[in-house]
Amino acid sequence: MLQTVLDASPRTDAAAAQDVHVAAYRFMLLARLLDDKFAALYRAGKIHGGVFLGRGQEALSVSVGISLKKGDVFAPLIRDAAGRLAFGETVLDAVRTYLGSSLGPMRGRDGNVHRGKPQEGYLPMVSHLGAMISVVNGVLFARRYKKISGTVGAACVGEGATSTGAFHEALNQAGVEKLPLILIVANNQYAYSTPTHFQFACDSLADKAAGYGVEVQTVDGTDLGACLKVVGEAVARARRGGGPQLVVAELLRLCGHGEHDPNDYIDPKLWESPLGRDCLKVAEEYLLRQKWMAPSRVAILRNEIIREIEEAVAQVQREPAPDPFVEQWHSIATGHLNEGNEER
């Protein structure tokens, strides 16, 4: 939510671009290092269940998070650590969720990527692919109903999720209701192990837009500058009342589906192709080339971030785990109507 900061400081275009790029890079690096830490904790047996990384998707992801403002709505996908942080999530909340701390936003009830704070427009995903999009629609629908204008909602999905009925119904709904939805499709070439030709038969996923009457842009997901521009413009169009926006990014998942996955099915040609570039490296090289950041600053930044992450992990590891005897075991809000937890 850097926009808020930037809007306040009238600077030259170049200087503004520098600020955005530097901020974005910082979130990307933070996300990458945080992901690396989760992977390490997973291998050390400190994390239960799965770990899902955003390696190779940070440029796109951060562009979404950074283009949104406070008050906007965000439904990330499992690889959106960068976007989440840019949208305002703290490292602490991410770590607390992965480690199941009772102080985290999910209180140990849900874990890993299934986190969010609905009251802050940050929607916690259910696992069912495509299912969050219509929920974003609902928030936006309610905003319009309440005559709140100027806010938008972004939902991120992988190319695999485009095959779900939920994706279709929700995008169509957004089109019919002309909601300010930005739907970001991260085509990372695989859905778990499944290559795109088993997933869809269109030439580009952008070809889907016309069928929903929504605007569409495609973008090179390995290029931070391009992502910031394309996503930023889509967000701006939606905010101006331009209706739903589809953004299709092409990139490659530079890791396994989850950390349990050896990822040995990726077509080696893809690693060599432009899609296989590491967006974090590309961004770093660009920043250095532009002299927007000195090499020494990158090193310092990295150290700062590592310290921040290590501190968060250390802190969370001392936090109380959820206690089944304290846990209420209530699934509805109307306290006295809960039932069924006596042993019967």
């Binding site: 009830r109 609902g138 939920a166 699934s331």
Partner: protein, 321 residues
């Protein structure tokens, strides 16, 4: 003034719209047309912008409602028939039903399911699927049997902070009439003794309450006094009222229009035998629909679901045992 069960549902929605600006209605054909059953007749005209036609997208309909609820609204979703809620199933049981538990943010949505059998409606416009929803944690499942309850419970459903599956029985829509709307009502979660009796307790809900009452009248002519308990809400279930009734009668027959495997009748029997075993002086019995889809032809349909006659016959067997 006299109004039907269906009109009561319309009135409840009108009142909810009138009294609470957070309420809106979303569903196929609910707008200008007033709904497939006219349950929202004139509401779009009376409350412009608040009663909205949706595309044929049950999944997205429920998803939108959840999002709106997060934003503080109180949406009412009309499914055209309960049977079609199966395509919105995932959003109901995994999105709406888990939201509060996961995040502490309540999810006050009401999903109206016109449900239950009517003659000639066949396997896809007759289903009773209340048990499917009641099995999942996080949902309240209501099954009003009277005009007054249809009205009062729908108003309460909208006011509750939780997702409510509101099962309104199509068989009762037109036939059932009341003279006026209630000003007071039993709260959600409380069962009602619809008829008092000393010889046997019939526990049931929705349209089957009326079959049970008719059976009770018939048996009364034979000297038996049947107590009929109308559950009103199948989740939560008012076990106390049921057990207290069985304490008086010693005999339990559970009647449901749904399929025999699992469901409300099994749940009631498990609770009563678990908590009030010693009160029973005969094996508790169930009467459900048959274990096939709901048939189209009236002859088959009448034999598929429990009726006053089959309730009376099951009751007689139990009374003589």
């Amino acid at each position: 003034m006299s109004l039907t069960y269906l009109e009561a549902i319309r009135e409840a929605q009108a009142h909810a719209l009138r009294d609470d600006p957070r309420v809106f209605i979303y569903g196929q054909d609910v707008g200008a047309f007033g709904g497939a059953f006219k349950a929202t007749k004139n509401l779009a005209q009376e409350y412009p912008g608040r009663v909205l036609d949706s595309p044929i997208s049950e999944d997205a309909m429920v998803g939108l409602a959840v999002g709106a609820a997060i934003e503080g609204m109180r949406p009412i979703i009309e499914m055209q028939f309960a049977d079609f809620s199966t395509v919105g199933f995932n959003q109901i049981v995994n999105q709406a039903a888990t939201l509060f538990w996961r995040t502490n943010v309540p999810c006050p949505i009401t999903v109206r399911l016109p449900f239950g059998g009517t003659s000639g409606s066949g396997p896809f416009h007759s289903q009773c699927i209340e048990a499917i929803y009641a099995h999942y944690p996080g949902l309240i499942v209501l099954t009003p049997a009277t005009v007054e309850d249809a009205y009062a419970m729908l108003l309460e459903a909208v006011a509750l902070d939780d997702p409510v599956i509101f099962c309104e029985h199509k068989f009762l829509y037109y036939h059932l009439k009341a003279d006026e709307l209630p000003s007071e009502a039993l709260p959600v979660g409380k069962a009602r003794i619809s008829r008092e009796g000393r010889d046997l307790t019939v526990v049931t809900y929705s349209a089957m309450v009326h079959e049970a009452l008719e059976a009770a009248r018939e048996l009364s002519g034979e000297g038996w006094e049947i107590e009929v308990v109308d559950l009103r809400s199948v989740k939560p279930l008012d076990t106390d009222t049921v057990v207290a009734s069985v304490a008086r009668t010693g005999k339990l027959l559970c009647v449901g229009e749904s399929w025999p495997w699992g469901g409300v009748t099994a749940e009631i029997i498990s609770r009563v035998t678990g908590e009030g075993f010693g009160l029973l002086d005969a094996p508790p019995q169930r009467l459900n629909a048959k274990d096939t889809p709901v048939p189209y032809h009236p002859n088959l349909w009448a034999a598929h679901r429990p009726t006053a006659r089959s309730v009376a016959s099951a009751a007689r067997n139990l009374l003589r045992s």
